[in-house]
């Protein structure tokens, strides 16, 4: 086995880092565990900040450039924190045919944010997804992890206004 690098200390005392570390340990700190590790950071913290990327690079003995390259390549990884609520509008073909564009416009008209943006009060992030696989319920959105189907602009705005 190759010589073991000394592992960097956890970036903080937050217990969630132990989960991240467990993912890497389970994969023997192999470089191919990078994507799994980034998933576990995002699951635990909601996004990937610079400190976490540096930590992963040092732990898995990978160049930071490579870690950053992977983190930016995949759409699911977020480098900025999300708002308190997230609304993902599915823009798959079935949802497009059934009016997903109208949902995006309705949100923009009401909250003034485009997909990929967060409202100024950090309350709501709006995202789009390529297809959430709920074509039978088109147009579909995912609000804070819950999939809701057959939406109209008014339904959705009312739902988003009602959060909290």
């Amino acid at each position: 086995m190759a010589t073991q690098q000394s592992r960097p200390p956890l970036p903080g005392s937050d217990k969630r880092w132990k989960l991240v570390n467990a993912t890497m340990r389970r994969n023997g700190y192999a470089g191919h565990a990078l994507i799994e590790t980034l998933h576990s950071i995002q699951d635990a913290f909601g996004f990937l900040d610079e400190a976490s990327l540096r930590f992963v690079a040092a732990s898995l003995d990978l160049p930071l450039s490579k870690v950053f390259g992977v983190a930016t390549f995949y759409h699911l990884f977020m480098l900025k924190p999300k708002g308190r609520h997230a609304c993902v509008v599915c823009t798959g073909t079935a949802c497009y045919i059934k009016g997903a564009g109208g949902l995006v416009e309705a949100i923009e008209g009401h909250f003034g944010v485009n997909p990929g943006e967060t409202t100024e009060d950090d309350r709501l992030s709006v995202l789009t997804a390529r297809c959430v696989g709920a074509c039978g319920l088109a147009p579909a959105v995912v609000v804070d992890g819950d999939l809701i189907g057959k939406q109209t602009g008014e339904d959705l705005i009312a739902k988003l206004e009602g959060l909290d």
């Binding site: 390549f73 045919i97 297809c131 074509c135 039978g136 319920l137 999939l147 809701i148």
Partner: protein, 537 residues
């Protein structure tokens, strides 16, 4: 373990539930869960109570008619979906009525007839257990004959015998390419190597397709069993299921299935007390469409950016970490167990001359019955859309059907009578793809449809090769202009030229097929483009 031992075990599992006469099955696949299946299941379980044990409420996989969810089926224990009483749009307040009617007259106000063509015209092979068994129950899978194909292969067949059956079946890859499965397996089997891999491609990225999701959520053991048989045939000992992270329920069910299969000795070391060992792990995608391409998918498993590389060498020769790798789609693996159980000739008797067996399609768009269907290859588009799908709602006229996702094309009404198989679709400028079928009515603007798909390919291009990276962007600009009636005849000519260049020079399937939606809409709906043009011709 031999087949008799397994049959005994299955009998034992069945005997343990011999007292159960009637089952109330609640669809717990993602689509019905989104429509509120969980509270329905809870209400039914509560209404059922302890009872006398002759009735049981259980969560099952996808029943197909997603647009009518939550779906609940009441059936005799050994009855399939078609023989059951099906209820649609069920809410928790209906629980008492449903439970009261289990052995009596059905609740007519909720009833969804199962003799509708949507159900009656299907031939369920891949989906045979879907909507019938509890996907999280290992015992339930074994009780309906699960893992008997694996044990049969291990105890009674050589790897060469397995290859022969798969080749004889004429099965072709269900991921869209249609490459003969037997040939692919034989190539990997022939490679001399100490280490080989089997990968299940569950990175179902086509927008508008949800077949693989439903199969994994409804019958995960079936896919694992298919992978294990493949591993035995090609000499692999390690497998990966590469699933989109957007499918959390599918991920969870596959992980549960792996854990349970391992605990019972159907995964891991010395499967069925033989020399054969096979480990499976789940790997998550992270939202990159290009990872459906096999070389990009393998790069992603290796922890890299999911960028494709030139082929050859093909994965069969040098795949994951340079070792020979067999990579098939979810539905392909789901077809393996019935082939081993019934023989290759049996599958070859279904379908058309060049495309054997059945195909699962995800029907969506402006169509009456949205959902999942499985039909024999060679069924006509008209049968699928007008008869099974129930036609277009609100009295509108059919305009086009899109197959093959962003790599496919749109077909107009004049081609509705073609039989659906790999070669017929290809000859008309579209492709089978993984099985997404999106129906559009007269209100759809075909130029905008082409623009939509080009935008998709543009933002999903991995950026490695120039024709795809730059070409899709230029084509999108042109389509955007034309769709807004700001394009000229010269723009259209340029667009057509670009289509040819990108098709001929891109590195991988994403770029090579990106022009297809444009080319097919130009072929069948050219007048719609021309009406929007200005300037000299």
């Amino acid at each position: 373990m031999n087949l008799d031992d397994l049959a005994e075990k299955a009998e034992e599992f069945r005997a343990a539930e011999a007292g159960v006469e009637r089952e109330v099955r609640v669809c717990m696949a993602a689509s019905c869960q989104s429509s509120g299946a969980l509270p329905v299941l809870e209400a039914l379980t509560k209404a059922c109570g302890e009872g006398d044990g002759t009735c049981r409420v259980k969560g099952v996989g996808c029943m197909g008619l997603c647009s009518a969810g939550p779906l609940v089926a009441v059936a005799d224990r050994d009855c399939d979906l078609q023989g059951s009483v099906l209820y649609r749009d069920v809410s928790p307040s209906d629980a008492a009525d449903i439970m009261a009617s289990v052995c009596g007259a059905p609740v007519e106000r909720l009833r969804c007839p199962t003799d509708l063509p949507f159900f009656a015209r299907q031939q369920r092979i891949v989906l045979e257990n879907s909507g019938v068994i509890d996907p999280d129950s290992f015992k339930g899978y074994v009780a309906v004959g699960g893992y008997s194909a694996l044990i049969q292969a291990l105890s009674e067949m050589t790897p060469a015998d397995v290859l022969e059956e798969i080749t004889a079946s004429g099965l072709r890859g269900r991921g869209g390419g249609g490459y003969p499965t037997g040939l692919k397996w034989s190539t990997v089997a022939k490679m001399p190597a100490d280490q080989k891999y089997v990968i299940c491609n569950a990175d179902e990225g086509d927008p508008g397709a949800f077949m693989d999701r439903a199969i994994l959520e409804s019958d995960p053991h079936r896919v694992l069993e298919g992978m294990a048989i493949a591993a035995y045939a090609v000499g692999a000992s390690k497998g990966y299921v590469y699933v989109r992270a957007e499918y959390p329920l599918a991920v969870e069910r596959v992980q549960t299935a792996i854990r349970k299969a391992k605990r019972s000795g159907f995964m891991g070391n010395n499967i069925g007390e033989t020399q054969f060992s096979f480990e499976v792990e789940v790997r998550l995608g992270a939202g990159a469409f290009v990872c459906g391409e096999e070389t990009a998918l393998m790069a992603s498993i290796e922890g890299l950016r999911g960028q494709p590389r030139p082929r050859p060498p093909y994965p069969a020769e040098a795949g994951l970490w340079g070792y020979p790798t067999l990579i098939n789609n979810v539905e392909t693996f789901a077809n393996i167990t019935p082939i081993i159980r019934n023989g290759g000739e049996w599958l070859a008797s279904i379908g058309t001359e060049t495309s054997k067996g059945t195909k699962v399609f995800a029907l969506a768009g402006t169509i009456e019955n949205t959902g999942l269907i499985e039909v024999p290859m060679g069924t006509t588009l008209r049968d699928i859309i007008e008869v099974i799908g129930g036609g277009i709602p609100d009295g509108k006229a059919f305009k086009a059907v899109q197959t093959g996702g962003p790599s496919g094309g749109c077909l107009p009404a004049e081609h509705l009578d073609i039989p659906v198989d790999y070669d017929s679709l290809k000859s008309l400028g579209t492709m089978m793809g993984s099985g997404g079928m999106i129906v559009m009515d007269e209100t759809s603007d075909m130029v905008d449809v082409a623009r939509y798909f080009m935008e998709f390919c543009m933002s999903e291009s991995c950026g490695k090769c120039i024709p795809c990276r730059t070409g899709t962007q230029q084509m999108h600009c042109l389509l955007h202009a034309i769709a807004r009636s700001q394009g000229t005849h010269k723009d259209l000519k340029l667009l057509e030229e670009l289509c040819e260049v990108v098709q001929a020079t891109s590195l991988c399937g994403l770029g090579q097929t990106a022009p297809n939606p444009v080319l097919s809409t130009l072929r069948y709906f050219r007048d719609e483009y021309e009406r929007k043009l200005s300037g000299p011709t």
